[in-house]
């Protein structure tokens, strides 16, 4: 039958099989060629210096073998093979002669050639055809149904990773090109084009050839009825690559270089700049990706590939000239085969999601050793289990989450909008403001500050960027969803302790609405909130510290990142963890002294040091700065707002504004006391809880000033109570798990009474806390859309400084506070970088208030303060004092307060000439570029900092301090000058921080595998 078909078919097919160390696959390849239903007319093998048994195998199969040097490229090998066919030439027209390119790792199915030829029968325009390529080992793994090239140079098959072949891509389709593994080419065309490009010794020669064929007006098709199984041995690094143009046997480098070459050699000239940029950027991005996957070799391949191409531009020029000769149609004809960016993005995203999904929800592993093999048919016949909504409503998690959402929404009814109040400042308009705040070396807060911005601003900016740049939206959602997030965080911890979902959900609920959580949310304390959120995640691993020497470094760095994030938000939390780590380290040292196990000690101590110091390096230079002012180690982000008295703290309630009243006593302390005597692991948790509770009690006895405030406030110990609360919840779950059964089995004794007491306290707390939270608790200090402190008319002119005076009275004490504001109320991060009190301003205000400050207005105007605003309710005596002094001119008195304009030149930059005449100069927010009219002194109304620089005609003007301690520069001549705040130091720190962060992230990420490390079965 086959012979009969052949007699009817006048076409001649010559198979050229190129081998290079392919003995592994060759027997099957040769067999497949021999078993073609449409016999091959001539088979020529070209062996490129195989050092295995390839040549012998071919000879034994009676295939004519031509041997070539080991560095012969694929195209060159084909050319040799073609030349060799001349020895077997016949009179057949070259139009009827076809070349079938076969790799030594590609085995066509028996009917492949026949199918290819059949498809060509009535398609005279087609000069190249190729089969559907399936995996060598997994015959359902679809490798290719035609190929193309993406605009970033990647090989594009349009298929998903490990796509299962179900015939979904079957048919005869026009494609840009097909793989050279199984490519059937009309010989005359092949020769006319000069064969495969010799510059593409390996990889991408197929795409290039297909592109050239296309622009010459021919067609390329894939015929999926023709199937070949391909091992992709070279691409998957199964064998060494020795072609001339490769370096250090690096297939990826060659692939990327060739990909870029194909794009740049074949594309329209006007696309070249865009392509060059795209290629470079995508190479950089991929290189970063490989670095993150700890594959520096691949990363360097990406960059080197572009570099290699750029250092040989003549190759590209020559290639483009050659292609022009054969081009009959525009290069744009291939545009339909180039995948659009949307497809690339969709596929990349889909692959990323699949990877994440597989990580989170790994596919159930089938028991390969099972004796009972499930029949596929039986599987199809088995009805899929129906999802019952009613059963979902019986699950604690579902019911609880719905209730929590409803409860939280009612509780947060005054917190939908831009939140502010308590310890929380107003959120800036967008994420860009947060980024700027983080990167700036000088902050226009008060009289200006060069303090390093806390790293929590960086994290907030990052998260805000994800929230479409809406920082306020992020903060609102964070505070609204805080109970839910706390619930999830604690639930994930408790799942490791118990399987009783009702118990762990109830305990998580108690945690989410614990006194410390409620006070934290109500008073807007971001630091404690993040501590409450992250602590359960960190606590999951604290028990593992006992075996820290067995923990992988990747895990250590992952945990360091988590602790680093916590440190960024709360130094007190870091201090607590540091104490724990240092205690463990000391114990390890003592153990080493006893048993002399040096290796064990080193393994433990290095990991402990990594956990201890990495978070500090991640938060440089802020953490370093905090260690220089140790009181900051006890403070949290935002405004310093006082906490509660020690007795309240001992009950687990941090006190302060927004906290629950004393009568809402949580059962936490009782649980800690009871479980301290437990014989279970709850005891350890209880001990930890009691120690941290004791620390909280001691801390609450002290007062501290800071973060832009000279007013001492009782220390907020919410962070320490968060530790204690986590410990109490864990201990409670451990003892309550199965307690009912145990109590039922035993006679009545004190355990029954204690259990009853815990239950009664829990019910009492639940009732009182719900009642309070929904009523009084909803009127929390943190509220949305509150009226700004600064009247709108004072916020209009940018950069204008206004001194805000505000009196308040509490417990018969009347206080008067002040601060300098520029344009708007305090924003997130302002308090953390707020400068120290200026003695000159403090003195001027003191004299202003007591009525003796005849020079107060001069001092204030010298500091660039233009307005004095006393917010209502005003102190009449103070108002009379101010009115009685010269230099304060009332401009308004409204319901908001009284505004005085301060006489004199109240500008940021004031130039005083040698005659003593002063005038203001135009300035930007930080720097300035303006001119002086002659010699004189330039005063800058900002705090003194050695980074202030004035450069005139390329020379730096000496910086000094004036009488008020403000920076000034003495000019000796007229001319333009630039005022800058030199941010080199800040940029240096940021660079270091980024390096530390990236290094830690890379160390924490799972390592990628080189293709050579992936099993062949997995690849194909």
């Amino acid at each position: 039958m086959a012979d009969q078909a052949k007699q009817e078919d006048s076409r001649r097919v010559t198979a050229i099989l190129v081998t290079h160390d392919g003995a592994t696959w060759l027997p099957q390849v040769v067999a497949s060629l021999a078993s073609q239903t449409r016999p091959i007319d001539l088979t020529i093998a070209v062996d490129t210096g195989s050092i295995d048994n390839s040549a012998n195998l071919l000879k034994s199969a009676r295939i004519h073998v031509v041997t070539q040097p080991r560095d012969t490229g694929y195209g060159a090998a084909i050319a040799v093979g073609l030349a060799e066919t001349s020895r077997y030439s016949s009179n057949i027209s070259t139009k009827d002669e076809w070349i079938w390119l076969i790799h030594d790792d590609c085995a066509p199915q028996a009917g492949a050639l026949q199918a290819l030829l059949d498809a060509l029968e009535d398609r005279p325009q087609v000069v190249v055809a190729g089969p559907k390529l399936l995996g060598w080992y997994d015959h359902t793994h679809l490798l290719e149904t035609g190929i193309s090239i993406a605009s970033n140079g990647s090989r594009w098959s349009g298929l998903e990773i490990r796509e299962y072949d179900q015939g979904q891509h079957d048919g005869i389709k026009e494609v840009l090109s097909v793989s050279t593994a199984g490519m059937l080419i009309r010989r005359d065309i092949f020769e006319d084009f000069g064969g495969l490009d010799p510059n593409l010794a390996l990889f991408r020669d197929d795409v290039d050839f297909g592109w050239r064929v296309r622009v010459a007006g021919h067609s390329v098709i894939v015929v999926t009825d023709a199937v070949a199984f391909h091992a992709e041995a070279a691409a998957s690094e199964r064998r060494q690559i020795d072609v001339e143009s490769t370096f250090f046997n690096r297939p990826l480098l060659l692939d990327r270089r060739n990909g870029a070459y194909v794009l740049l050699a074949n594309s329209s000239w006007w696309l070249l700049p865009w392509l060059a940029v795209t290629l470079f950027l995508s190479a950089v991005i991929r290189a970063i990706g490989y670095l993150l996957a700890k594959l520096p070799g691949y990363a360097s391949d990406e960059i080197l590939a572009i570099a290699l191409l750029l250092i040989h531009p003549s190759e590209l020029r020559k290639a483009r000239a050659q292609r022009r000769e054969h081009r009959l149609v525009s290069s744009r004809v291939v545009s339909t085969f180039i995948p659009p960016r949307s497809s690339q993005f969709r596929l990349t995203t889909s692959r990323a999601f699949d990877a994440i999904r597989e990580k989170i929800f790994p596919a159930p592993t089938t028991n390969q050793n099972s004796l009972i093999q499930e029949s596929e048919d039986e599987d199809l016949l088995t009805p899929a289990p129906a999802f019952k909504w009613r059963s979902a409503l019986k699950r604690a998690e579902v019911v609880g989450v719905v209730c929590v959402i409803a409860f939280t929404t009612m509780w947060s009814r005054h917190r939908f909008g831009n939140l502010t109040g308590g310890a929380l400042a107003t959120s800036p308009e967008g994420a860009s403001d947060l980024w700027r705040r983080y990167t700036d070396s000088w902050h226009s807060v008060g009289m200006g500050s060069g303090s390093p911005t806390p790293p929590w601003i960086f994290l907030l900016a990052l998260a805000s960027t994800v929230f479409f740049g809406k920082a306020a939206l992020l903060v609102t959602i964070l505070f609204w969803a805080a109970p839910l997030l706390l619930l999830w965080s604690m639930y994930s911890l408790l799942r490791t302790l118990s399987r009783n979902s009702w118990l762990i959900f109830g305990a998580s609920l108690a945690y989410a609405f614990s006194p410390v959580a409620v006070a934290t949310i109500n008073s807007g304390r971001l630091g404690t909130l993040m501590t409450l959120l992250l602590l359960p995640q960190i606590a999951r691993y604290i028990p593992q510290l006992d075996k820290i020497q067995n923990i992988q470094w990747r895990f250590i760095f992952g945990l360091s990142l988590l602790v680093g994030a916590l440190t960024a938000f709360s130094l007190p939390a870091y201090m607590a963890l540091a104490i724990l780590l240092i205690t463990t380290g000391v114990k390890d040292y003592l153990t080493w002294q006893k048993n002399s196990e040096k290796e064990l000690f080193i393994a433990r101590i290095t990991r402990e040091c990594a956990l201890l110091f990495t978070p500090l390096f991640l938060t440089l230079p802020w953490s370093f700065d905090a260690f220089l002012s140790p009181s900051r180690l006890l403070l949290e982000p935002g405004f310093v707002v006082g906490g509660g008295v020690p007795n309240l703290v001992a009950l687990g309630n941090p006190g302060g504004m927004g906290s629950m009243p004393w009568w809402a006593v949580s059962p936490g302390i009782l649980i800690l006391l009871v479980t301290a005597f437990s014989s279970t692991s709850a005891r350890s948790y209880a001990h930890l809880g009691l120690v941290t509770l004791a620390c909280a009690v001691v801390g609450s006895a002290f007062y501290l000033a800071g973060h832009g405030s000279q007013t001492s406030q009782r220390l907020w110990v919410g962070t320490w109570l968060a530790f204690s609360t986590v410990a109490a919840v864990c201990a409670g779950v451990i003892i309550l798990d199965g307690l009912r059964e145990r109590l039922a089995r035993s006679h009545f004794h004190f355990r029954h009474m204690l259990a009853a007491l815990v239950v009664v306290m829990t019910i009492s707390y639940s009732f009182t806390s719900v009642l309070w939270t929904l009523t009084q608790g909803a009127d929390s200090p943190v509220q949305a859309n509150q009226e700004p402190v600064l009247p709108a008319f004072l916020a209009v002119v940018p950069g204008v400084k206004t001194l805000v005076l505000r009196s308040s009275s509490s417990s018969s004490l009347s206080t008067l506070n002040y601060y300098i504001v520029r344009e708007s109320d305090a924003q997130l991060g302002d308090a953390d970088v707020a400068p120290a009190d200026s003695p000159a301003i403090a003195q001027a205000l003191s004299e202003m208030v007591d009525g003796s400050g005849l020079t107060s207005s001069k001092v204030l105007s010298a500091h660039g303060i233009k307005y004095l605003f006393m917010k209502n309710p005003v102190d009449d005596a103070v108002v009379r004092s101010i009115d009685g002094l010269g230099g304060f001119v009332r401009t308004s008195a409204t319901h908001a307060g009284i505004v005085w304009r301060i006489s004199g030149i109240s500008e940021r930059l004031v130039f005083t000439n040698i005659k003593g005449e002063s005038k203001s100069l135009i300035t930007d927010q930080v720097g300035a570029h303006t001119a002086t009219s002659g010699p004189g002194v330039l005063s800058v109304a900002e705090n003194f900092d050695s980074a202030w620089q004035v450069i005139q005609e390329g020379k730096r003007i000496p910086l000094s301090k004036n009488d008020l301690g403000l920076p000034q520069f003495e000019f000796t001549q007229a001319g333009e000058f630039s005022l800058i705040h030199d941010g080199t130091g800040r940029r240096g720190w940021l660079a270091l921080q980024v390096i530390v962060l990236l290094t830690t992230v890379v160390m924490a990420l799972p390592a990628g595998r080189r293709k050579s490390e992936i099993s062949v079965q997995e690849l194909t």
Partner: protein, 433 residues
């Protein structure tokens, strides 16, 4: 044994709690500045003399409209004030000012530091009125003052004035309420250090009907005491007293007036539970038959009120009148009285206090005043200043000064109170909502 660590931790917790309670004390980082603001004394005008008893030659002063903003010693214990009001830095010593139109009328008041608001109950805007309100801005910035006026016809359209820094202005009463017979004024500074003084001078053609300085009251109260209303006992004509009351709120007030004198305490006819219309000035004739030289009025009201009494007198052959205003409860205070020889009148259920008198020769004289209802104390002739101390609660007092020109009244109250202002402390929270 195995629970030893747990017990130790619980003991640790209890110890820390005890420790925390021991060391935990309210920390107040606030600092305060305490001072007596300088008090302003009214100026004289054409034909008038105005003298202030300073009590001390070294008392610092400055003229309000002077070029110098610094103070210098007054160099006299009795200083004649010219056309410019003066600012006296006499600390806790209250200076008494005597103003007179030689042989026509006399009146007295005290120098006062700037107040939030001042009420003046008295004066007229009719054709006899020559009265005026003096507004003194002793501050170095311009001041804005609102003047609210009430009369028998209800509340009048007020006036707002801007007073330049370090200056004083006069406002004629008949310009505030033209044709209105009975006035009550409220001076409310919107800004500035403003002290106000009011002079009620009346005449008919060239014939003087007398005059007096009306002393200010700081606020409307439900319980008022006018400590001294003088009586001219033994004269042919029964003296005429006019009680003027204003209910500034929105609700009519029920008042009861108790007349307290050494003759006893009673409620004059028609003044028991008398309903007074709000928003209008009520003049109530008061002609008690009392033999005492002076009596006091205790007024109880269910709404805040302000009140004063005008007493018509014949003095040295000419007609004179005197306005008695309500006084705050007496506290320890010092008073500069040299050259004035005032009579002090104390009223209260139980009066007990000490007066230390500094004489011009430098000697000190101590006396105790005690009694019930009303007690009188006459200052020695050569008294320079007095110090009132050990005052029993519930006492109200005023002084009456007589001279050849006329008679004056002043309430016993401190002209300058100790002001305690918190020194501002830097706190960035003030710029958070």
């Amino acid at each position: 044994m195995k629970n030893r660590s747990s017990l130790a931790l619980i003991v640790l917790l209890a110890t820390t709690l005890a420790f925390a309670n021991l060391v935990s004390a309210s920390v107040n980082s606030n600092r305060f500045s305490e001072s007596f603001p300088a008090s302003a004394c009214p100026s004289s005008s054409s034909g008038m003399t105005s003298t202030v008893s300073t009590g001390n030659k070294s008392t610092p002063f400055r003229r309000v409209a002077g070029k110098l903003s610094s103070f210098k010693p007054v160099q006299s214990s009795r200083y004649a004030i010219g056309a410019d009001p003066i600012l006296l830095d006499s600390a806790d010593l209250t200076a008494v000012v005597w103003q007179s139109f030689s042989g026509v009328w006399g009146g007295s008041t005290i120098c006062v530091s700037p107040e939030g608001e001042q009420w003046f109950i008295g004066g007229t805007g009719d054709v006899t009125s020559k009265g005026r309100l003096q507004l003194v801005n002793s501050g170095l910035s311009d001041a804005t003052v609102d003047i609210s006026v009430w009369s028998e016809g209800g509340e009048q359209s007020g006036k707002s004035l801007t007073i330049k820094a370090n200056s004083a202005v006069f406002v004629r009463l008949d310009s505030l309420a033209p044709g209105q017979k009975s006035l009550a004024l409220k001076v409310s500074p919107r800004s500035g250090r403003v002290s106000a003084f009011m002079l009620d001078e009346r005449g008919k053609g060239l014939h003087s009907l007398g005059g007096d300085v009306i002393n200010p009251v700081n606020s409307a109260e439900r319980e008022l005491v006018i400590p001294a209303v003088p009586q001219q006992v033994g004269k042919e004509k029964t003296p005429l007293h006019l009680l003027r009351v204003l209910v500034p709120g929105d609700i009519d007030a029920n008042i009861q007036v108790d007349l307290v004198s050494n003759d006893g305490t009673f409620t004059p006819l028609g003044l028991d539970n008398r309903l007074l219309k709000h928003g209008t000035v009520n003049d109530i004739a008061l002609n008690p038959t009392v033999n005492a030289q002076v009596f006091a009025l205790h007024i109880h009201s269910d709404q805040p009120i302000v009140a004063g009494v005008m007493s018509s007198l014949t003095f040295a052959g000419h007609r004179e009148f005197l306005w008695s205003s309500s006084a705050p409860q007496l506290t320890d205070m010092s008073l500069a009285i040299n050259g004035l020889d005032p009579m002090l009148i104390f009223t209260g259920d139980l009066i007990k206090l000490k007066i230390e008198t500094r004489l011009s020769d430098g000697k000190t004289k101590n006396s105790t005043v005690s009694g019930a209802d009303v007690a009188l104390w006459n200052a020695p002739k050569d008294a320079v200043k007095i110090r009132i101390s050990a005052v029993s609660p519930g006492i109200f007092a005023a002084g009456i000064i007589s001279s050849a020109s006329g008679i004056g009244y002043f309430p016993l109250m401190t002209g300058s109170s100790l002001t305690r202002a918190a020194i501002p402390i830097s706190n960035i929270r003030v710029i958070n909502r």
